[in-house]
Amino acid sequence: MATTAKIERPVSPGPHWKAGDTPMQMGSFTDIKPVFDESRCFSPCRQGCPAATDIQSFISLINEGKHKEALKLVKETNPLPLVCGRVCPAFCELRCSRGAVDERIAINALERFVADYDYTTGAPYTPKVKPATGRKVAIIGGGPAGLSAAYYLALEGHQVTIFEANSQLGGMLRYGIPEYRLPKAVLDKEIAAIANLCKEIKYNASLGKDFTIKDLKDKGYEAIFIGIGAWREEKMGIEGENLSGVLSGVEFLRDIAMGKKVDLGEKVVVVGGGNTAIDTARTALRLLAQEVTILYRRSRAEMPAIIGEVEEAEREGIHIQFLAAPVAIKAKDGKVDSIMCIKMRLGGRDESGRRRPQPIEGSGFTLKVDTVITAIGQTVDTSILPKELIDSGKYIKVNMETMETALGGVFTGGDCVLGPGTVVEAIAAGRRAAFSIKQYLSGKSIEPLMAPHRYDKGQLVNIVIKGSKVKQLPRVKISALSPAERKKNFKEIKSGLTEDKAKKEAERCLECNSCLLCWLFCPEGAISVRGNDKRPTVDRDLCKACGICVNECLGRAIELKTVESAKKGNLRKVSEGK
């Protein structure tokens, strides 16, 4: 290999070189490269939303003043924005990348804005319905899961009948979530829009009592959606649980929603740490109870309730005693008089990964109480269901992507599958089920609506690529009633945004278009995010086709494929001579 040409040496003296001089394209050793499916590449907000609502786009429409189009877009994935815009814990906001710059976008408030705004126009949005198919579908349970399934099936032209056990539709929306979070008047508007699309609503019709699954099938319902929720209060299993004056949180909220009068006395203790416990406590406080205490056996960090709700409860004057559990309820004259409790400490982790509460010897204490309300968990009333549907006795067994159960033609979703969850998860499940039912009715094999995004990827992170053009702007302030103004009434606490405020907030959106995890995890820096649409693209000269991006993409939007135009063996030869 003798040559006479001089090797250019840019640095002298010594064996040194200029940094960044890389004549070889290290990705050219393979023509396998990642290919992106843009339809699965979501902005982080959309990834976080269980309903996969195209949040970035609807915010963009608000920016343009196209509020009706924004609402239409929301309703493509969520038929209950009036509700969700008020009660959703806003998983989307947690994922909002604006949080890496200054403060997360108030997405929930923007959703509420487009929903509220629609009703101020005088001509609220009505969706297009496909021609009638004549196929009958039964929805058991008129809660958010059932309402969502009903909506999407009705739009397909199918004949939907909702079988509702109560005298009104809504499920937990009406009978669980209190008025001050979700006024019934608002709820009724939204439910009416869905009910109007259905063939019929049968009220006071309970599965197992008034009809069975077999009955429905015999009556010609070709597909059935079960959205019966989880209404059975879990028992504490302590002495005195059955005394008069010990209530179930679920039943208490239901009674209040139905307008019944409940006498709580002066001191109320609520046991539990979930949203039901918080709703129960805040409702009790408004009903003239002087003192409301929540007992929770773990610490604040483990509390499953929405953080904002917990904070509001404390602001309103509810005392939360952490690391405490009831041991026995004592009566006087046949009525609840006091509750004996014990302090807890957190020990090692159990299978769920949470630290196990253990009672501290000798730390017992007693609280005077008039009413004890339990809200420690809810289960499904499986006694009304066919045995084949049930999984280990607790919930309905389901394929979480297609929402199919063990019985052909029977689908399900919502709390009866996952246990007490959120409204938006139930809505998403209803829509997935509707999509599956649509295929089922047309005789096709069922492909899931969309394989859900992956959240089993350890620590979720949100990143923003640093750019110079983003100015720090504060998040819009949402006005709310002060604790004093809330006393002893059920007025809706939070206000909506004005159009002006909504537009200003919408302008803060960074228009992420993708979550950037592929860009982050690529060891070669081969993925870049360029152009106005900021979608990931790969530099084929740098990419070694390791496949990390494929594995880390939460949307499963990337696949490794042989790419014809990626040249193989394109190692630029460093000239050593002629």
Binding site: W17, K18, A19, G20, D21, T22, P23, M24, Q25, M26, P89, F91, L94, R95, S97, G99, A100, V101, A301, M303, P304, A305, I306, I307, R349, G353, T422, Y455, K457, G458, Q459, L460, V461, N462, I463, V464, I465, K466, G467, L520, F521, C522, P523, E524, G525, S528, V529, L542, K544, A545, C546, G547, I548, V550, N551, E552, V574
Partner: protein
């Protein structure tokens, strides 16, 4: 899920390390890439014999875009002392001085100079990229190789002398020097790592980060699983994400689920010789070490 905070970060788009000779799926390169995104252009790297040097200093491929010097195997701590002293002497205060060495270059042949650098109290960042063996030269054993892993110089682990040794406690060694900042990290937790690099850069003295960097070539798993394997390392307790600052240790991240070590081991062919009794022993060692760190972390 409702109550969980999500780590967020604005990250620089600059790529200061590109086009290396590294294996596909290499997390050492990934760690260096991320560190440079935090540290920026005004950074100098001193890198001894290790994978990172091997893939960036062989002519004609000069993958670093910042000033970088390749140095003899044992010298990282000493060279960064020299650089740090010289910059101080010249009044240069805005350039990060960073030594990046592997497990061998830090815990074995480089241990003495590593220790002395920490003692010197000079301002620098020392990052140990730990792929748990001398990978660069063909997977020879290091004192940071986990119990039971097959290496080229320990092909039958169960008959080797280092019976019940599992990974020298380098974090503990660093802390024993009372430096202002030390941390453990893993390339499966990018924002945790970047935050630590950022803290290290703002430390007025020695800062040490020990980052676990899984290696598909040497650990025996498919290269697309690099991030997943690192997650399992942390979820099984084989590795932990901690920080030492102002004399106190704390966990910076605790995984939500705990996974038995067997699940982690079963995915890597370097552990294929482990029998149930070895796995049990390793599980016990891992549990003990985690408990010891938990105990230290809970000290006031």
């Amino acid at each position: 899920m409702i109550t969980k905070e999500i780590a967020t970060r604005e990250i620089s788009p600059d790529e200061l390390l590109l086009n290396t000779l590294g294996c596909a799926g290499c997390s050492v390169v990934l760690a260096a890439r991320w560190a440079l995104k935090v540290l920026g252009k005004r950074t100098v790297f001193a890198v001894p014999a290790c994978c990172l040097a091997s893939v960036t200093i062989y002519w004609p491929q000069m993958a670093f875009r910042i000033p970088m010097v390749s140095i003899p195997f044992a010298t990282t701590g000493a060279v960064i002392q020299g650089i740090s002293a010289a910059f101080r002497h010249r009044g240069i205060t805005d350039v990060n001085v960073v030594g990046v060495a592997g497990d061998g270059g830090t815990a074995d042949i480089g241990l003495a100079s590593f220790s002395q650098a920490l003692v010197s109290r000079r301002k620098f960042i020392y990052i140990c990229v730990d792929n748990e063996a001398y990978m660069n030269t063909g997977v020879q054993w290091s004192s940071l190789t986990p119990y039971g892993a097959i290496t080229a110089t320990g092909p039958v682990p169960e008959v080797m002398q280092e019976r019940d040794h599992n990974k020298k406690d380098l974090f503990g060694i660093a802390i024993a020097h009372n430096i202002p900042y030390a941390a453990t990290a893993c390339t499966s937790y990018p924002l945790d790592f970047m935050e630590k690099v950022s803290k290290a850069a703002n430390t007025n003295g020695p800062a040490f980060i020990h980052v676990l960097t899984p290696c598909p070539t040497g650990w025996g798993y498919p290269e697309d699983k690099t991030i997943e394997i690192g997650r399992l390392a942390v979820e099984s307790g084989m590795w932990y994400l901690c920080e030492y600052q102002n004399g106190k240790i704390r966990f910076t991240y605790r995984p939500e689920k705990k996974v038995p070590v067997s699940e982690y081991l079963s995915l890597q062919s370097r552990f294929r010789r482990m029998k149930p009794e070895h796995i049990t022993q390793l599980q016990s060692m891992v549990d003990k070490r985690l408990a010891a760190i938990e105990a230290l972390a809970s000290l006031e």
